[in-house]
């Protein structure tokens, strides 16, 4: 799903007249997309939508799924600014899943900003150009004498004006401009981009209005609970449903055969009732025999032992990257550093448990209301499962109570659709319990790293070796543990090898906010802190020394986002120096406290963070302050949303570092609810100071890149405080006893 290629980014713009007057503007971007995971390629066009109403309000479609990252507010801001609207004219509606109209619609990978920065602005600029042309024709004057402001065209000389609403019908009759002829605003003229604008749905949310997926209500709707085996990969042998069917409020119960992998339809029993609590309660009355199969013996402890065995064996299965002569570097080293690092499986634990509402209409079309981060593959997968043509499925994207990557996988949509298919004409809402949610996730993969560093007589890092023990994933699946060959410090240490051994598992795995980076930042930045300590320097100075003299890498065109700026050591230096200044790095922390440093580059964002921490009398980790310097390019589109993402990512990372682990035992997850998955609470929240460096680069996303470096910044602070190195997450405070 993350492997699509945009071959052409030339935008076509189409206009049409609204019934009752007004203008609908469509920006069509021809593009060719390669196959998404498990889904046939859908060559399509990207359409962003602007509707100008006679009363001069303007409806803008937010095309991407909103999971709390602020995208439903932010993408329309780009259109509105270039169109020269006042923000209070703007109404925003959520677009349905529709690849032909909207192109890619995905909440993931911090992709939305780089992918949409230019196309959305072009949509707005085209609309503005058409309004100018319509006014020029109406008044018989040249466009050159006209300007726009707050949804009006104004003749500069005479001062006469017309609202966009008054011009909309005439504008719609015009030939849309060639995007190549459009002049976009100079950043100095932005009056919406760069303003702190509250979330567009916030007023509705504080009133408790129905807005999330699980708030969907339809006439005659019933509720479903789904019982599946807690053991991954299990199959259903037999089920006695009589007692469950006789339970209060229960309308029906039936078995669903599994179809496809864990990301599609896992086998289980659906219970249908008038009230979800009654459906869920009736699960106690089910008598099901499962065949747990060969995977029931798997455990977290087993994987830890298997990693140790892989290391004991010595040679990894395969190299990821190898440069220089690693063996020679270690043979000639004046000093070597060795350490073994480990981190656990993690769950997403979005606040809104997985749910989906579906209605199989009597005419055989399926309508769904789905809180999904990845609607298009969800639609295609459901259509394929039910043998429906994709155009027989309508998918309404709902606002989501968090995502963090969990809702990139649409297993819950498959369950909901399979249940609805059994009861045509009756809308059904499937809801998972919190226990279902924690036990049926697609987990951040655990991982194990055996690291070695070679240091020469001058104290220079000359060799680096990592034997990574990870998991084998199903063929073709997105690998959320993938260790890219250019993970830092690759390319910055002359003799380096990253290699891996893969363990078999049936634990489902998926992307968790900043996938792979959320683990690798900890491992690499903590181990480099060890190297710095051994060489008599500190981590930021070691990092600056490693990148010294290195040039920026070339930019790349193509790829999912169309453009990827090359890794720039200058931007890395910028955030490192900024964070050092912000965190008063050269000044020791107060009595009983210590500071730690972390840097990471992910999702095209550069982040350096300083953490000041201490231990309580009971040896609990206390984080007092975090200083964060980030570089995501030239523009912070919505400073409100941006700050919220960065603060949230920092607290999220600190929570992972201190408390979170999913434990596997008997082939299943043992965590059941929030008492065994202890997310950070308000009192844990440190003071957070954030600054952005505005570098001369196109803006990139903020959902993820602030998270990774905070974890090593904390563990490095704890080393500075105690002399104890945290080599396993979550932090075991017994280390400090």
């Amino acid at each position: 799903m993350l492997e699509q290629t945009i071959l052409s980014r030339r935008t076509l713009i189409k206009a049409s007249v609204l019934a009752g007057g007004g203008l609908v503007l469509t920006a069509a971007m021809p593009m060719v997309a390669q196959a998404a995971v498990g889904v046939d390629a859908t060559p399509g066009v990207l359409n962003a939508f602007v509707t100008v109403h006679p009363d001069n309000t303007v409806t803008i479609v937010g095309k991407n799924p909103e999971i709390g990252q602020g995208i439903k507010t932010m993408l329309p801001m780009l259109i509105a600014d270039e169109m020269d609207l006042a923000w209070d004219q703007v109404r925003i509606v959520q677009g349905d899943a529709d690849a032909r109209k909207y192109g890619p619609q995905i909440a993931g990978g911090s992709f939305a900003t780089p992918m949409n920065w230019m196309p959305m602005r072009q949509v707005g600029a085209a609309a503005r150009a058409m309004m100018l042309s319509a006014a020029a024709a109406k008044w018989g004057v040249p466009v050159a004498g006209l300007r726009t402001d707050a949804g009006k065209v104004i003749e500069t000389a005479s001062g006469r004006s017309a609202t966009y609403g008054e011009l909309a019908t005439a504008a719609a009759a015009l030939t849309p401009p060639d995007p190549a002829t459009l002049t976009l605003k100079s950043p100095a003229d932005f009056n919406i981009i760069g303003q702190a604008i509250p979330g567009i749905d916030s007023p509705r949310i504080v009133r408790g209005e129905p807005i999330f997926g699980v708030d969907t209500q339809l006439p005659g709707m019933v509720y479903a609970a789904y019982e599946r085996s807690p053991v991954f990969g299990a199959t259903l042998t037999s089920a006695n449903l009589d007692a469950a069917k006789a339970a209060p409020g229960v309308r029906d119960a039936f078995v669903l055969e599994g179809k496809g992998g864990a990301d599609q339809l896992v086998p289980g029993v659906a219970i249908i009732a008038d009230n979800w609590w009654l459906a869920n309660k009736a699960r106690e009355k089910l008598a099901i025999e499962w065949n747990n199969g060969e995977w029931a013996g798997h455990s977290s402890q087993g994987y830890t032992a298997a990693a140790a065995a892989a290391w004991a064996k010595g040679e990894p299965e395969e190299d990821i990257v190898k440069t220089g002569d690693v063996a020679a570097a270690f043979a000639s080293a004046a000093k070597t550093v060795e350490a073994e690092y480990a981190y656990p499986f993690l769950a997403h634990a979005a606040m809104e448990p997985m749910n989906c509402t579906a209605l199989m209409h009597e005419n055989g079309t399926l309508e769904m209301w789905a809180p999904t981060q990845n609607p298009q593959p969800g639609l295609m997968g459901v259509a394929q499962m039910l043998g429906l043509a994709p155009d027989k499925v309508t998918l309404h994207i709902t606002r989501m109570g968090g995502g963090f990557g969990r809702r990139l996988t649409n297993d819950f949509m498959h369950q909901s659709a399979a249940i609805a298919a059994k009861m045509p004409g009756t809308p059904v809402q499937l809801i998972w319990s919190r226990e279902d949610d924690l036990r049926s996730d697609f987990y951040r993969p655990a991982g194990f790293h055996k690291l070695r560093a070679a240091i020469d007589a001058q104290g220079k890092l000359t060799g680096f070796d990592d034997h990574f023990v990870t998991f084998a994933l199903p063929q073709g699946a997105f690998n959320p543990a993938a260790m890219a060959p250019d993970i830092f410090p690759a390319k910055f240490v002359p003799n380096l090898r990253y290699a891996q051994t893969k363990l078999d598992t049936r634990v489902p795995m998926g992307a968790l906010r900043a996938p792979s980076s959320n683990a690798l930042a900890y491992v690499m930045q903590s181990f480099l802190d060890e190297v710095a300590h051994e060489t008599g320097t500190d981590l930021p100075h070691l990092l600056l020394a490693l990148i010294d003299g290195h040039e920026k890498e070339p930019d790349q065109r193509g790829g999912f986002t169309g453009f990827t700026a090359g890794f720039d050591p200058g931007r890395m230096r910028g955030v490192i120096e900024k964070a050092m200044a912000m965190g008063h790095w050269s000044t020791p922390a107060g009595e009983g406290r210590a500071k730690g440093f972390g840097f990471y580059f992910s999702h095209q964002g550069y982040f350096a963070e300083v953490v000041e921490a201490s231990l309580s009398a009971r040896k609990q980790v206390q984080v007092h302050q975090v200083w964060c310097a980030g570089d995501v390019g030239s523009t912070i589109i919505n400073p409100f949303g941006a700050l919220n993402q960065v603060e949230g990512a920092i607290i999220d990372g600190l929570g992972q570092a201190t408390a979170l682990a999913v434990e596997i035992e008997g082939g299943r997850v043992t965590n059941s609810n929030f008492h065994q998955y202890t997310l950070p609470r308000i009192a844990f929240t440190p003071k957070i100071e954030v600054e952005f460096i505005k570098s001369d680069n196109p803006p990139t996303g903020l959902g993820e890149p602030a998270l990774p470096p905070v974890i090593p910044a904390l563990t490095n602070a704890l080393f500075a405080l105690t002399g104890k190195r945290v080599r396993k997450l979550p932090i075991d405070t017994a280390l400090f006893a």
């Binding site: 949310i205 699980v214 979005a350 606002r399 919190r434 949230g648 308000i682």
Partner: protein, 156 residues
């Protein structure tokens, strides 16, 4: 057997088993979906309502226990001057990311300000300890409560 429960000043009939949690009576029987399901076992606070003015986890309050009591939900938060102050502060501070937990946060915060109009930072943290925000909007939750307390109740 049917129960009668006073919800937001209206007497509502609920023909459900007495052990059904208030949360599911609100959401699935009355269509009042502002109160959110998060954990089902009073660990996250997403389902917080007021029972006789005191914050309560509706996922763990059986319908049968509510005879003679007054339930207030997020749908009626704007009817109180403190509620309006908090709603305004929440929007002004752009508190939320996903927003799913915020009904519970607001109901808990309004119960706090009703009994302690000028809470200290420590009192805010302590009172809000039962409400998880997975997006971790905690710095702004703190700020918004302090702002609402400073500005005081907002009359309609």
């Amino acid at each position: 057997m049917a129960y009668r429960v006073d919800i937001n000043g209206e007497s509502r009939e609920l023909d459900v088993p007495g052990e059904m949690p208030l949360l599911w009576a609100l959401r699935n029987e009355l269509g009042m979906v502002g109160t959110k399901f998060g954990c089902g076992v009073a660990l996250c606070g997403a389902c917080t309502v007021h029972v006789d003015g005191v914050a309560a986890r509706s996922c763990s309050v059986p319908v049968a226990s509510l005879a003679g009591k007054k339930v207030t939900t997020i749908e009626a938060l704007a009817e109180s001057p403190i509620g309006r102050a908090l709603q305004q502060a929440w929007v002004d501070q752009d508190v939320m990311q996903c927003g799913y937990c915020q009904a519970g946060q607001l109901m808990n915060a309004s119960a706090l300000l009703a009994r302690n109009p000028k809470p200290s930072a420590e009192q805010i943290d302590s009172a809000m300890a039962g409400n998880i925000c997975r997006c971790a909007c905690y710095t702004r939750i703190r700020e918004a409560i302090a702002l609402a307390a400073e500005k005081g109740p907002v009359n309609a």
